[in-house]
Symmetry: C2
Subunit: 458 residues, 2 copies
Amino acid sequence: MIQRMIIHAYLLTMTDDQGGLIMDGAVAMEGNEIVAVGTTEQLQANYQAKEEIDARGKVVMPGLVDAHIHTSMALYRGVAQDMHHWLQKGVGPFFGNITTAEAVIGSRLNIVEGIKAGTTTFSDFDNPMNLIAENYRQAGVRARMTSTVNALPPTLHKLGVGELYPLDEGIEQTKLKEAVTLLEEWHGKENGRLTVMMGPQGPDMVSKEMLQEIKKLAQHYKTKIHMHVAQGDREINQVIKRYGVRTIPWLDEIGYLDQQLIAIHLTEAYDEEAALLANRGASMIHCPGSIGVIDGIVPPVMAFLDAGGTAGLGSDNAPGNNCNNIFNEMKAAAVYNKIKAKDPTVMTAYKVIRMATIEGAKAIGLDHETGSLEPGKKADMIIINMKEPNLSPVILKPVCNIIPNLVYSGRGHEVETVIVDGRKIMEHRKVLTLNEEKVVNEAQEAATKLAERVATLL
Amino acid sequence: MIQRMIIHAYLLTMTDDQGGLIMDGAVAMEGNEIVAVGTTEQLQANYQAKEEIDARGKVVMPGLVDAHIHTSMALYRGVAQDMHHWLQKGVGPFFGNITTAEAVIGSRLNIVEGIKAGTTTFSDFDNPMNLIAENYRQAGVRARMTSTVNALPPTLHKLGVGELYPLDEGIEQTKLKEAVTLLEEWHGKENGRLTVMMGPQGPDMVSKEMLQEIKKLAQHYKTKIHMHVAQGDREINQVIKRYGVRTIPWLDEIGYLDQQLIAIHLTEAYDEEAALLANRGASMIHCPGSIGVIDGIVPPVMAFLDAGGTAGLGSDNAPGNNCNNIFNEMKAAAVYNKIKAKDPTVMTAYKVIRMATIEGAKAIGLDHETGSLEPGKKADMIIINMKEPNLSPVILKPVCNIIPNLVYSGRGHEVETVIVDGRKIMEHRKVLTLNEEKVVNEAQEAATKLAERVATLL
């Protein structure tokens, strides 16, 4: 008797370029691992399960990977739209004045939002990550946590636009200590479900010395480096002012472009710069939704992929996107890139669903554990109701519409069940590990207080 | 005693450019009309209601207007993505081979999908509209129906790409008769909830004589003309081949550009052509989702609006979009146009939410009845749960995040209650007028048969 088997599903294993569809598919799991994948007939011949889930009319696929998210920022969702100088003038006052307790509350809201839209892996880049880590322990999702290191004083929004930021050595050293403590205390916790990376907020937001120190530490701890790169003309302007050269050539000079680097955004990177990153083995996280709203730009992810790079998708942050939902990012990645290329054949549904699963997992170094349904991998998967009107009907031939509809019509609420590390964390759309109503109410209360404080500062 | 009052809402009346927000707002209705709008305190001082709905923590706003939709096409949702020659090579075989019974079943699925995403007005352009009209009678939504007139044989997909289509006079005359019959039989039915317009499928898809005949009939019946205009290079190519000039100048020559015209798409219109339409008083329906997926193009809606035109939003069709959800169109309109302009300040949330409501109603000639919450208008409204994690928290100052979050994070499933013409047609997300499960199952069965037939043809 094994623990659980899901049968009669449209099973998307993500083991090939067409989604690895198995009709009348089944997956068997024991503990936190997948033990077998195949047709229902095959698996029923070999296994009996204590719990059998009939997924007729449903898709079962790997849980979605949100490869770049700032969960605390959910607390000020939607405060900075349709504007120029988003970071400094829109988000700055909130970002600079949120308390650690408020950040943890905001993070919890965002984790619930993600789970309800099928996200099972959160690559979170935030502070105070040592406290946010407790949210992840409780939520039961897979988390790849980075404690943001920067040297920025909380008064950034008071600077003139384009002025060189002051970099405060005391601040960056304090934040580095927090990042190292997080690594020491949390990496590998919860049976490996929680892992830690290193992360300078951006090449413009810490000193050169700090970038170099982090590189050494990341090598020592064998972790990846999660960093915003070429995230805006603002950043490139700062780097040119300090070092006389654009971000990506400068990072190449100081030895930062390699397989250890997860480069976020590349908003203002030239196509050749994106290709250079790919050639050096760095991965890229594409956040089309937030960069579309914040900057009206489609980053050069196609140039990056064409050069052979590995890219995932990220929902980034709620004051910019304004949702943290990988279904949104799949459609955005596909359509924004069609618009950029003026060509409907680029960035197909089949390509972006891989970015949301196995490619995203690979980009953050977790493809040995998650992102596809294969024996030996962790049991991270979602069950999607294809009888929701917007995903109906299912057509199999002459063309199969399952993946096109998940990408172009899926909105997240069709996800019924979420399993992470072998544990059901959502069932019948009820989150089992956190109290959704309480999480939402606490966030409302905290946001009202934060907004009142910010209002008095402006 | 009046019939119903909703109290304690974030009320978006849409009576000004900021959404007409009334904090702690209330709306009173009797029969199919709104009788009063104001604060809860004001309304409670003047009215007592048989039914009182407490909308604390919820938005109440006008129902959404889907100003261009082909509902029958839901039956082959998602069969033609990521390709060139979408109409002829992707959709053609399905479009040409669907039976009338199947079309009605597909339409029902799409209506349920729309209701569940807050659409209360459907401007449907389809065949067989005399039968689809029964769906609208039953569903209880407001419908503006157009029976598509074309002269196209069902073998369109067998032509070479770029070949001049044969226009069949017998077909166009038959379809014109259906359109006139629809008008005679259905215009003004259900106490005015169902109305009818005239609609050539496109300037390339009927003869010049038919366009002129329809213009006269529309004048006679005092209806608008709902027509695809400049919907693709395919169409412009056909018009140039037939008449030696591009679509919009040609329509101007034959007197088609005036307030009677609702021009759909304008995909391939030049900015100056879009401005000409606006100057002539024609309205425009912008369908960013479908045109983004199908063509990788952002139509010139900004040029049209800058010239003073009135524009609404449409979800178009499920094999192209692949969803029929005006929340999707709001975010798409905002972000695609930011990307096109490389400017995050254009097409604000405040502008697109008006296009989804009052401007859309005006574009299809229904703004005297729907699109805003004002005494004397029909009671068409939706109640949205702002405690869904992706719409939380609500912040009122220093910046109000309600409309930015509805537009950039709303996905449709947050709509709890739908009221049309004073009648509740959805409550607690259960559609009350149609049996959702039955509608979905019938569509699945019919789609399987249609797809099997199409497979044998290819």
